[in-house]
C-alpha cells in the first residue's frame, strides 16, 4: 500500500466532461488503481479543502487539474495543489490552453454578469449575486470572478500538458501509464502533427470560393470538409485524436489547440484559410471583389479561437477602441 503512487483530480471552471473522460478508459482504470491510490477527487469522493490543507507538502505524486481559472477560488486551490503535489498535469484543453470558457474574454467581467443576470431571459432581472451576503444561518461568501479567464500555466507551473476536450480514450491509454511512470516531458503529449495529417478524407488541391454554414450543405462523406466549403479547423489543430470528427462528417472545431510549438491557433488558422480561399480569375478582379470571399467566413474570432483564446497572443479584449 505504502509504495503505491498517490494521485488526485481537481476541477476548476469546467463542464465535468474531463472528470467523466477518466472513466472512458474502461477496464484500464483497474490498472491505474493498481499503480496508484486516488487521494483527492472532489467529483467522486467527498474530501474537504481542510483535508487537503492538512496534507504534507509534496505528498501527492501526480495531480490532474482540469478546467480553466475563472474565479478566485480556482486560483487559490491550484496554488494550494501545486504546493501539495510533486507533478501537475494540465488535463484537458481548459487547463492547458484556456478552453471554451475563454471566449468570455471577448467581453468584460461586468458585461458578462450583466448579460447573465439582467437580460429578459432571466426571471428576476437585475439581481447580481453579491460577494458576501447575510442569511439567517450566517454569512455566505461567493468567490468573485477574475478579470479574465486564464489557463493553468498562467497561475502555477505545469509539468505536463494533455490537451483535448476531453482527452480521448486513445490519448489516455497511451498517456496515462507514461505519466504515472514519469516517462513524459512537458510537451510530449501535444502532437506535432495536425488533425489534417491524421484525417482519412480526400483532399484535392483547389481554391475554395466560398464558405457555407454546415446546415446548408449536404456533405460528401469521402471528401475533405474544408474543400467542400465548410470551415474545418483541422489545418491549425494538434492531432493525436485520430480525427474522430471529420471521419464522421463533422468539421474539426479545434479542441486540441495549436500543434506543439505554435503559440496562436487563431492566427495560424487565419493564415491557412486565407491561402486556400479564392476564386478563379482573380487577376482580373477588383480588390473589393477579392475580399468578398472573406465575408463568408462567419465570426472568425469565435471560430478560430474557440478553445485557445486565453493562451493566444492577445488573451482578452483590450480597451484600445474609444467611443
Amino acid at each position: 500500500m505504502s509504495d503505491k503512487l498517490k494521485i488526485g483530480f481537481y476541477w476548476c471552471a469546467a463542464c465535468g466532461g474531463c472528470e467523466i473522460s477518466v472513466l472512458d478508459i474502461d477496464e484500464m482504470i483497474l490498472d491505474v488503481v493498481e499503480l496508484a491510490d486516488i487521494v483527492f477527487w472532489p467529483c467522486a469522493m467527498d474530501p474537504k479543502y481542510e483535508d487537503l490543507r492538512a496534507m504534507e507538502d509534496g505528498s501527492i505524486d501526480v495531480i490532474f487539474i482540469n478546467g480553466s481559472i475563472r474565479s478566485t477560488e480556482n486560483e487559490e486551490m491550484v496554488k494550494l495543489l501545486r504546493e501539495k503535489s510533486k507533478k501537475v498535469v494540465a488535463y484537458g484543453s481548459c487547463s492547458s490552453i484556456g478552453g471554451l470558457f475563454g471566449l468570455g474574454n471577448l467581453y468584460s467581467k461586468e458585461e458578462l454578469l450583466e448579460y447573465g443576470y439582467n437580460t429578459p431571459s432571466t426571471e428576476e432581472g437585475g439581481v447580481i449575486p453579491a460577494e458576501n451576503s447575510k442569511v439567517p444561518e450566517g454569512e455566505l461568501h461567493l468567490p468573485p470572478l477574475l478579470h479574465h479567464v486564464r489557463s493553468l500555466d498562467e497561475i502555477i507551473e505545469v509539468d505536463i500538458y494533455l490537451p483535448g476536450c476531453p482527452p480521448l480514450p486513445n490519448q489516455l491509454k497511451e498517456g496515462l501509464p507514461l505519466i504515472l511512470e514519469g516517462k513524459v516531458g512537458k510537451y510530449d503529449l501535444v502532437s506535432q502533427k495536425s488533425v489534417c495529417d491524421e484525417c482519412p478524407l480526400e483532399r484535392e488541391e483547389k481554391k475554395i470560393p466560398r464558405l457555407y454554414p454546415i446546415q446548408e450543405m449536404m456533405l460528401d462523406p469521402e471528401r475533405c470538409i474544408l474543400d467542400q466549403g465548410v470551415l474545418c479547423m483541422g489545418p491549425a489543430t494538434a492531432g493525436m485524436c485520430e480525427a474522430p470528427c471529420p471521419s464522421v462528417g463533422h468539421p474539426c472545431i479545434g479542441c486540441n489547440g495549436p500543434v506543439r510549438g505554435v503559440k496562436d491557433q487563431g492566427a495560424r488558422m487565419a493564415s491557412a484559410l486565407a491561402s486556400v480561399l479564392g476564386v478563379e480569375g482573380e487577376e482580373r478582379m477588383e480588390e473589393s471583389e477579392i475580399i468578398d470571399v472573406v465575408k463568408s467566413v462567419r465570426d472568425p474570432t469565435g471560430s478560430f479561437y474557440r478553445f485557445s483564446l486565453p493562451k493566444s497572443y492577445l488573451r482578452y479584449k483590450r480597451r484600445d477602441i474609444h467611443g
Binding site: L106, D264, S271, E287, I290, I291, P300, Y313, K317
Partner: protein
Amino acid sequence: MADFEPKIIVFLCNWCSYGGGDLAGVNREQYPSNVLGIKVMCSSRVSPEHIMESFVDGADGVLVTGCHPGDCHYIDGNYKTIRKIDMFTKILEDFGIDPKRIRLEWISSAEGNKYARVMTEMTEEIRELGPLNLKDEVE
C-alpha cells in the same frame, strides 16, 4: 501625449516595396524615422502571428506592403495577403484593438515618393491614435 513617438513595424516585400524604399532613399525623400522595416520575400509571408507578436512586443502600428495586384513575383501571393489582412483586421477589432493600427499598401519599386508619403501618413495616423498599451490589466 505631445512627446509620443510611435513605433511602426513595416513589412516590405523583397521584389517591389523594398525597392520602393530604396528609391525613396536614393531620391532623398523625407519621411519619419518611426518606421522599422523588415524585409520579407513576399507580403503573403507575413503571418497574422508576426503582426500579433509585433503588437505584443511594443509596436503601435503595423504596415504590410507588397507589389500591386497582378504584379506579384509569386503570381498570387498578394491576393492571399489581401484576404489574410482583411480577416485578421476583423479579429483584431474583436480583441478591442483599433483596426487603423494595421494597414496594407501596395508600393512598387518605382514608387519612392509613394513610399515616403505612406510612411508619413501612417506615422501621423498612429500619433493621433496614441500609444497601444497592451500591459496587463491587474485584478
